[in-house]
Amino acid sequence: MPFAWFVAFRYLRDAKGQTALILAAVSVGVGVVVFLSALIGGLQTSLVDKTLGSQAHVTLHRPREAPRPLVEPVGDRAIARVMQPAPQRLRSIDSWPTTMAEIERVGGVTAVSPMVVGAGFARRSEAKEAVLVRGVDPERLLAIIDVRKKIAAGRFDVVGSDVAMGSRLAQLLNVGVGDKVRLTTTEGAEDVVTVSGIFTLGNEAVDRTWVVTSLRHAQSLYALPGGATTIEVKVANVFDAERVARDIHERTGLDADSWMKLNAELLAGLAAQSNSKALIQFFVVVAVALGIASVLVVSVVQKSREIGILRAFGTASRRVLAVFLIQGGVLGLAGSLIGSGFGVLLAKIFERVLRGPDGAPQFPMALGLPLFVSATVMATAVGLLAAVIPARRASRIDPAMAIRNG
């Protein structure tokens, strides 16, 4: 074994109590960091997942209609005008299949789904509920929101006049799979549809208002033959959605809303969480570094005569430096390994003990390899850095003085 490693390990082994104490301190520190990261990472992932479970990453509409003056001012003639916001009709995106093909070429876009979205009422005997009719191309919709996985009853099968609706809505209308419901749209069209599937997407507003039907059916209900009012987009990296939305807006002129814009408060919350996590981690790292440094400083003082003797016998000062750097690095590395285990244990216990009413963990933990790798690299680096000052002090010990005075 190289000299510096041999001496470093022997010193660590010889000072069992000190080594055990500082290892415990580093382990607790790393354990807290791992646990906290897993907790907050898991929480954020599950929040984002929940939000995106019923929402496209980017939603595209025609720009709102601007008021069009009936008379334009000409030359020096002054005209008194009254401008009123234009009434917003339900209109199709112009030549949407071409637009859709173009959107598919935007970087980061993984799925695109056209739809007709309109308001209306659903009626079943005395019960009457306001609904949001969404006419979709089923395969394309499924690529964006996997309704099939969230089906509570029946099947997700929207062809002809078969529709799927939210579970809350079904409850309010008191309908089950196979029952018929009368739909009235804002355009005045009326149709009787059959409920083929009931879904729970986990968002109250969605589960209470959505009626999903085929694109063709919705086109006829809203008198938009061949049209689509909305295009929904899925992107590869959910946090890239805002950039993709801007790209699409620039290319197509469509109004593009990313989920990030529509959920700005959620994102602000997530950012605040991340910041507080970073702050806690920072202070844990500082505490760990101070712990390692103080133990090594004491060790250098205790061993200064021995270091002096090694120097007298011709050990180069850089090897003395290495002895203490290695001790710092090894304490950081070993502490991070034990601490990672400790953090995982804590996370698993937390996950197991705190469960929601449905039996799912209330705090899903994000325990991934990158977390452990980064914790280990960080702790080892902190150990090495913390050892720099004591190690330099050791390497500068004057042998004659140290041997005489201890």
Binding site: F6, E306, A312, F313, G314, T315, A316, P399, A400, R404
Partner: protein, 232 residues
């Protein structure tokens, strides 16, 4: 002299910034290969200062130390360290073994610390030395589990582990009972006679000094007498 191993020329050592204290006031000394010399003198006479300067652990204020033909004046710290590793062995009053290590590890450490890696030859050499000092059955013992005499014998084996031409011993028997002191002294004499290693021994003990081939007496930072004739 062609055989001179160590030449100390006009060495002055002063301490202090404002009030200068002169520890050595111009010391000239030549030690030849194969000598066994005692350095005696009252405490505070400058013995230890001289030994530190000869041991390349300290630098003289003026004058120079020539070790085996190398003038040490121009060497930097790394140069002095390398020269110490190859030209010098040390035995201290309080053995100063490293308590975290076994006897054989202590004997191997100087070579290990200089070369970086241990080798089979290093171990064989250390074993041979420990056998030579009569500790064949104590090699794997922690030095803290040994008697004072045994510890000092390990220290002698350590000092000789690089086969240095010169060993500096600072009161090597000062902390031992008469019998152990005698054993340790005889051991050094034997390495001197059989191995040709040169010894410079600082001692208070006139009985030890009397048995050395040369006695250098230092008083108030100067050599008062240098008696080469006394032979046992």
């Amino acid at each position: 002299m062609a055989d001179s191993l160590l030449r100390v020329e006009g060495v002055v050592k002063e301490y202090g910034e404002r009030v200068r204290t002169r520890a050595l006031g111009g010391v000239d000394l030549v030690v030849d290969k194969g000598e066994f010399a005692a350095l005696v003198g009252p405490s505070g006479s400058g013995k230890s200062t001289l030994l530190n300067i000869i041991g390349l652990l300290d630098r003289p204020t003026s004058g120079r130390v020539v070790m085996g033909g190398t003038d040490t004046t121009g060497l930097d710290d790394q140069g002095l360290t390398t020269l110490r590793a190859h030209a010098l062995g040390f035995v201290f009053q309080f053995h100063h073994l490293l308590p975290a290590f076994t006897a054989i590890e202590n004997v191997m450490l100087p070579a290990w610390g200089d070369e970086g890696f241990p080798s089979r030859a290093m171990r064989a050499q250390a074993e041979e030395l420990l056998r030579a000092v009569g500790l064949a059955d104590r090699m794997a013992f922690r030095t803290t589990d040994m008697s004072g005499g045994e510890q000092q014998r390990v220290a002698i084996a350590r000092a000789l582990s690089r086969r240095p031409p010169l060993v500096l011993a600072d009161e090597p028997t000062g902390n031992l009972d008469t019998e152990s002191a005698n054993e340790v002294f005889e051991l050094m004499r034997r390495f001197n006679r059989e191995g040709g290693t040169t010894f410079l021994v600082v001692t208070h003990d006139p009985r030890i000094a009397d048995r050395c081939g040369r006695v250098i007496e230092i008083v108030d930072g100067r050599i008062r007498s240098d008696d080469r004739k006394r032979r046992k």
